[in-house]
């Protein structure tokens, strides 16, 4: 019944337009010598990739991205899980839940500006008044380590609600009988958490982590408005590096090769997690 395929044709065309074409174009660009400063544009094979992989800035940006990802995810996971466990067995605290979820609906650009002003060492409430009041004098956003820590904190504030929502839904879906049976068998709260809660959370947790990794690798606007990748290159994650390469250094070919590398990193990470943790039973190798 080949005619049935026509029903999905519009979707295929739409996807091809907004996903396939840009992706193919990105791959094509990554093989081009395409400098705005040079009118000649030509094929250079893998030259953009070799130059990218030999650039100090790339490796530094990768390190910053990994630090941002790992640090942010770890804090997010602990806080998100803690909050989800607190709210899992109660239907009260609606207002509190709303407050916890609220940062999620605030656009990252707005969140970035807010945190930038709060942490500003000259006029910010936290940076200029609160921290000095407790004896912490450093200007967080102008210090390389402090700036990285600051963008992580802002990211945690902004994205933890997502982790919280997924884990809360998963926790509320765990059958109560399992806990009752465990209690009858003499299991304490810690044993219940390790033997029941964590295994039951595995799937949702991996999904949440998967989204989180993709989100962190592609984070741009939050860091851009808070630090623009600075001071220096202290918070220059891969996406900021790509933006600088394309729009400041006007090297479209090199920026496209970075885009391909970021796509590969995200895909590989996602595939590993999917195959390792989310493959349906019976499909294991």
């Amino acid at each position: 019944m080949l005619w049935r395929l026509w029903f999905i044709a519009p979707m295929v065309v739409a996807l091809a337009t907004v996903v396939l074409f840009p992706t193919v174009f990105l791959f094509w660009m990554s093989t081009q010598h395409w400098l705005v400063t040079d009118p000649d544009q030509f094929y250079v094979g893998a030259e953009n990739f070799t130059r990218l992989l030999s650039a100090k800035d790339f490796w530094q940006s990768l390190r910053v991205t990994v630090a941002y990802l790992v640090l942010g995810t770890a804090i997010m996971l602990v806080i998100g899980l803690g909050l989800a466990l607190s709210f899992a067995n109660t239907k009260s605290g609606t207002l509190l839940r709303v407050m916890i979820v609220m940062p999620l609906i605030i656009p990252p650009v707005v969140a970035g500006f807010t945190w930038r002003f709060l942490l500003n060492g000259e006029i910010g409430f936290i940076g200029a008044f609160l921290l000095p009041a407790v004896g912490f004098e450093a200007n967080l956003l102008a210090d390389p380590k402090g700036a990285l820590f600051s963008v992580v904190i802002a990211d945690v504030w902004s994205r933890t609600p997502f982790m919280f929502l997924i884990l809360l839904a998963a926790l509320q879906g765990i059958p109560r009988d399992l806990y009752e049976a465990a209690r009858v068998d003499g299991a304490g709260p810690v044993a219940q958490f390790i033997r029941i809660t964590l295994p039951m959370l595995r799937g949702p947790l991996i999904v949440a982590l998967l989204f989180r990794i993709i989100d962190a690798i592609n984070t741009f606007e939050l860091i851009y408005v808070m630090t623009k990748g600075g001071p220096g290159r202290a918070t220059q994650v891969l996406s900021i590096f790509g933006w600088r390469t394309a729009f400041q250094e006007l090297d479209f070919g090199q920026a496209a090769s970075l885009g391909v590398v970021m796509l590969a990193i995200t895909l590989v990470g996602a595939l590993i997690m999917f195959r390792r943790f989310l493959r349906p039973a019976g499909q294991d190798a």
Partner: protein
């Protein structure tokens, strides 16, 4: 309705239809930033209106002017994408003399304006403009853009605090200024004025600090010390096969900029842009602002601090070890896209928007002591607002300026980005001056090799 009015209406309709083509106007699309600041007298405080002044121009020339404002970064990116993709969507594009004019002119994305200059002299007469502002937009012997809001170097400082610490006049050299800054810093510390910083400059990553930093390098070395021997054009660099000198002659000025930022600047200076400079000075939290004094004048417009308002003074930029002054020279300029379908109308609009009448409007609405026309600097509005001595000094800063205090090469935007970020790295302590400059040197060598300068 009687027959007579019907006939009249029918006739009116026929005349209107017949005269339709004559009423059709050429459309000129512009992309710029800073609504309410740029051309407030044409597009109103919101940037979305059309004032009588603009309408009069449209009617007189048969041109419809469509202005699109965006924030500065967005506007720059839109200009880049529009030019690179050769869409011709924008007939007039906002540029800057610190990279965009050079990069886009060499790449062939802009229309040279020399042949148009005589076509709209009633709006823009190049002979009546400070020549340095035209020179700043001249690349390879051709004029590529006309200047609007523009400025030269200088220092804005708090005279009351200078007096308080026994400094009678602003020092004339960089070395003397360093001593003065040290004296002020000690005085502020002794008086417990922790929230007042001796100096404010800009050290944010990206191209911003490069304009001022390059001025320090120029004052220290006495020439644009980017390449061996100081060539400023691609031809000169190629002819001499001049290699980058960022870890040698460039170093003196760079190091001074970084050390002053660290020693005398606010703790957050490694992230500061011109907005932070302006805010700090306006809030009375900085004693000296340099070398882009324009940001100090901007601060004066909105300050609530009486001391800042009443005790601010202007001084010429100090001279460096070479005997040349620290530079900071920039023009917000506008060029005609090479892809514009209406280049003549576009130029006429450009001449109107950057001409004497427009600059008069700028002086009336903003009132800063900077103008591209001597007649405006010496006109009623600015002479009523500023002392003659200050206007003399501002004019002198143009005369002392070398708009080409950095090389005019196609790669300028990339270099500005790298240099500014290297400064931010060194100021924040992420890298030492030596590391930052060595990395800059390696990158510059590779970039110039790749661009074929040494073949």
């Amino acid at each position: 309705m009687t027959a007579a009015p019907r006939i009249s209406l029918a006739l009116a309709a026929i005349i209107a239809t017949a005269s339709g083509p004559a009423l059709a106007q050429t459309e000129v699309n512009i992309l710029a930033f800073a609504p309410g600041f740029a051309w407030a007298d044409m597009f109103g405080p919101s940037g979305t209106e059309k004032t009588d002044k603009l309408r009069a121009f449209e009617e007189a020339e048969g041109i419809t002017v469509n202005m699109e404002f965006a924030d500065e970064e967005t506007a720059r990116q839109k200009v880049l994408l529009d030019l690179v993709n050769e869409t011709g969507t924008y007939d007039l594009v906002m540029l800057g003399s610190d990279g965009a004019v050079q990069t886009f002119s060499y790449a062939g994305y802009l229309e040279p304006l020399d042949d148009y200059l005589g076509t709209a002299k009633n709006y823009f007469d190049a002979d009546q403009v400070y020549p340095q502002f035209l020179e700043a937009n001249t690349v390879d012997g051709k004029l590529w853009a006309l200047p609007y809001y523009s400025f030269g170097a200088g220092v804005i400082y708090r005279k009351d605090l200078f007096d308080k610490y026994g400094i009678d006049e602003f020092p004339g050299t960089v070395a003397e200024l360093e001593e003065v800054l040290r004296t002020i810093k000690a005085g502020l510390e002794a008086d417990g004025m922790d929230n007042v910083h001796t100096l404010t400059m800009r050290g944010a990553p990206g191209e911003e600090p490069s304009l001022d930093l390059s001025g320090f390098v120029y004052a220290d070395a006495g020439f644009p010390a980017w390449f061996e021997g100081g060539p400023t054009t691609p031809e000169e660099i190629k002819a001499k096969k001049a290699k980058p000198i960022f870890n040698s002659e460039f170093r003196g000025g760079f190091e001074r900029f970084v050390e002053w930022s660290k020693e005398f600047g606010p703790p957050g200076i490694a992230t500061h842009t011109w907005v932070d400079m302006m805010n700090l000075y306006g809030q009375g939290q900085a004693v000296v602002l340099m070398p882009s004094a324009i940001n100090g004048f901007a601060a004066l417009g909105g300050t609530q601090d009486e001391n800042v308002r009443d005790h601010t003074a202007f001084a010429p930029s100090p001279v460096g070890a070479s005997g040349k002054p620290v530079q900071s020279f920039w023009t917000f300029s506008v060029g005609v896209s090479a892809q514009s379908a209406n280049k003549e109308a576009a130029y006429k609009t450009l001449a109107f928007l950057t001409g004497e009448q427009a600059m008069q409007g700028f002086a009336e609405s903003i009132g800063w002591p900077y103008s591209t026309f001597p007649s405006i600097t010496r006109g009623e509005v600015l002479t009523a607002k500023w002392p003659a001595e200050l206007l003399d000094q501002v004019e002198a800063s143009y005369e002392q300026a070398n708009p080409h205090y950095f090389p005019y090469i196609p790669e300028l935007s990339a270099f500005m980005e790298r240099i500014g970020t290297a400064a931010s790295e060194a100021i924040s302590g992420e890298k030492s001056v030596e590391q930052a400059l060595n990395d800059l040197q390696s990158w510059a060598e590779e970039r110039m090799e790749r661009a074929g300068y040494y073949e």
